[in-house]
């Protein structure tokens, strides 16, 4: 529909939208009630997944299904999405920040010749303009940007926007236009799975535990993982811990790692260097455990305990267990 707010669906590669889509759809609905459409490029969508999008509030789902859409390749997706955008003339194209969506919408914006605002944390309609707020300069400043023309293309930082509440029984009209895939120049070779920790993914988790140099060695991360299992948290690390080889790079939080914005961040033996803060300062509640009362992380922490983390972590695990068993 012309004037629609598109929400590009990020899925779990198994036919279901990721829960971050509730946030994207929720924000789109706030900006453009009744004009929210989900656009889903995938090799296979499940019926449950389609239903979920409707319950979150998408009025219409456009499903572009083609075996060639997995694994994701920007050249293939952009051709299909640009063709659809040409026909439909959406007002906005919104996607969550994930590694592939960041690339995809940037390339799509270039194809359409329009502006892109990445990693936004807020939107406001001002007259007939959309103004997006985004952190810049290591999160020290907030930049407000606006578009010269539609479609307004943007990515949304996860865990920042209020998710739409699922309304059981609400359904979206589902359309399945013929999805043509251009021949890809990139040829898929293989996918190497990471060893799963069984804990949530860093960028999606509502609670994140971070262990820094104060962890003293790779063997000690088990105590953080134990805590993580109790409270359902992802376990990340500072760069000092990553560079020491204690944790793989994919767990690094910060400017040269992942940007996270959980409801709760718990830092253990992390000093709070500016580059670490760049990746976590939009967390809602920040807790710091450090034996140095002067550690800079205490400046942005909501709660702090000055103590040896090796004493605190087991106590915390015990207390949380008690609380959550109630």
């Amino acid at each position: 529909m012309a004037g629609a707010f598109w929400c590009i669906v990020e899925d779990d590669r198994n036919g279901s939208p990721k829960k971050v889509m509730a946030e994207v759809i929720g924000e789109a609905a706030r900006l453009a009630p009744g004009r929210v459409e989900a656009v889903w490029l995938t090799d296979k969508a499940s019926e449950a997944g389609l239903k979920q999008l409707g319950e979150w509030g998408a009025a219409r789902v456009v499903l572009l299904e083609n075996a060639a859409f997995a694994p994701y390749r920007s050249e293939v997706w952009v051709a299909a999405a640009a063709e659809l955008a040409g026909k439909e003339a959406p007002q906005a194209i919104l996607a969550p920040v994930t590694s592939r969506q960041r690339e995809f919408v940037a390339r799509l914006a270039a194809r359409l010749g329009v502006g892109l605002a990445a990693d936004c944390v807020g939107f406001a309609l001002e007259g007939d303009k959309l103004v997006a707020t985004r952190p810049v300069y290591a999160g020290k400043l907030l930049s407000k940007v606006t578009w010269a023309k539609a479609p307004w293309v943007a990515t949304l930082r996860p865990n920042v926007f209020r998710p739409a509440e699922a309304q059981p029984g609400k359904t979206a009209s589902v359309e399945r236009p013929a999805a043509t895939a251009v021949g890809a120049q990139m040829k898929f070779v293989e996918r190497r799975e990471e060893v799963s920790t069984g804990l949530p993914e860093l960028t999606e988790a509502e609670t994140v535990i971070s262990g820094g140099r104060g962890m003293k060695g790779p063997e000690n991360y088990v105590i953080l993982e134990d805590l993580g299992r109790v409270i359902g948290a992802a376990v990340g690390a500072s760069r000092a811990a990553v560079d020491a080889g204690w944790r793989p790079h994919r767990f690094q939080i910060g400017q040269t790692g992942r940007t996270i914005s959980p409801k709760l961040y718990l830092g253990f033996g992390v000093s709070g260097a500016i580059q670490h803060l760049a990746g976590m300062r939009t967390s809602k509640v920040i807790v710091a455990i450090n034996k140095d009362p002067e550690a800079p992380i205490f400046k942005i922490a909501d709660y702090g305990i000055v103590a040896d983390l090796f004493e605190v972590v087991p106590e915390l695990t015990k207390e949380f267990k008690k609380l959550l068993e109630k």
Binding site: V136, W147, R191, A301, D302
Partner: protein
């Protein structure tokens, strides 16, 4: 094989940044500038490719004002063969697309076979120029790469990109664009010889008119810049460890409702 590396000069993250009087840009007085860290990974990778192949040329390109020469000079000191500086007030308010258009024009002029970029520039953090370059050139692109190998006859590159949950490996025919992720390599420090040698290497200045004309207006414009609102002051929980931990858990549950 000719490799082009796009680099952006950014404020060192450790330096203070303040909003300028115009309320849209930063006050640049007293700022220490560095090459964006991801772009250093890109430079390093380009140099390694050249060294491994025993031939080729590595060209560093940057768009920005006069101060950018210093960043290009440090890439030359690392070992790049020459540099190109896109320096024209017409690009002063360039958005990612305008930046990508200018860079794509240079890449075409230079007939580069491989373009290495950073995952994102650590000041504006759009993480977009790379993908937009690939689009404008019609080249394949691999984002957030953790490793790459060029085949012997320089016809294709095998790249592993980082995605949620793992790595995805692709073969890309050349020419192609790659965006460097941390973990790809450990950038070298320039040697004294490198620094001395860099002074003699060429930095070519290009204006918008050298790239075939008018700069299209930016599609995205900055309407305001402000300091992050300060967080409300926090609280250090006192007492011995068991007492403090109990109080922390209670606060997280009852006051902050975070658990």
């Amino acid at each position: 094989m000719k490799i082009l590396v796009t680099i952006k000069q950014v404020p060192d993250t450790a330096t203070q940044v303040k909003v300028a009087a115009d309320g849209k840009t930063i006050d640049t007085t007293g700022i220490t500038w560095i090459v964006s860290p991801y772009d250093e990974f890109a430079v390093e990778e380009a140099l390694r490719i050249k060294e491994k192949r025993g031939q080729g040329e590595v060209v560093a390109v940057s768009l920005g004002p006069d101060r950018v020469k210093e960043a290009l000079r440090s890439c030359l000191a690392m070992g790049c063969d020459r540099a190109i500086h896109l320096n024209d007030p017409a690009w002063a308010a360039a958005d990612t697309l305008a930046t990508a258009r200018a860079l794509a024009a240079v890449i075409k002029q230079e007939s580069a076979q491989l373009v290495l970029c950073g995952r994102q520039a650590i000041d504006d953090d759009m993480g977009a120029v790379t993908a937009q370059l690939a689009e404008l050139l019609g080249w394949p692109c691999a984002y957030w790469i953790m490793e790459e190998t060029i085949d012997a006859d320089a016809k294709s590159v095998r790249a592993a990109r980082q995605v949620e949950g793992g790595l995805e490996v692709f073969d890309l025919p050349l020419p192609a664009v790659l965006a460097a992720q941390k973990g790809l390599n450990e950038p070298r420090y320039p040697t004294l010889k490198g620094i001395m040698g860099a002074k003699k290497k060429e930095i070519k200045d290009l204006k918008a008119s050298d790239l075939g004309g008018a700069v299209e207006p930016s599609q995205l414009s900055v309407v305001g810049l402000q300091a992050l609102p300060p967080r409300p002051p926090g609280r250090i929980i006192q007492g011995d460890v068991p007492t403090a931990v109990k109080e922390l858990v209670r606060s997280l549950r009852e006051d902050a409702k975070a658990i």
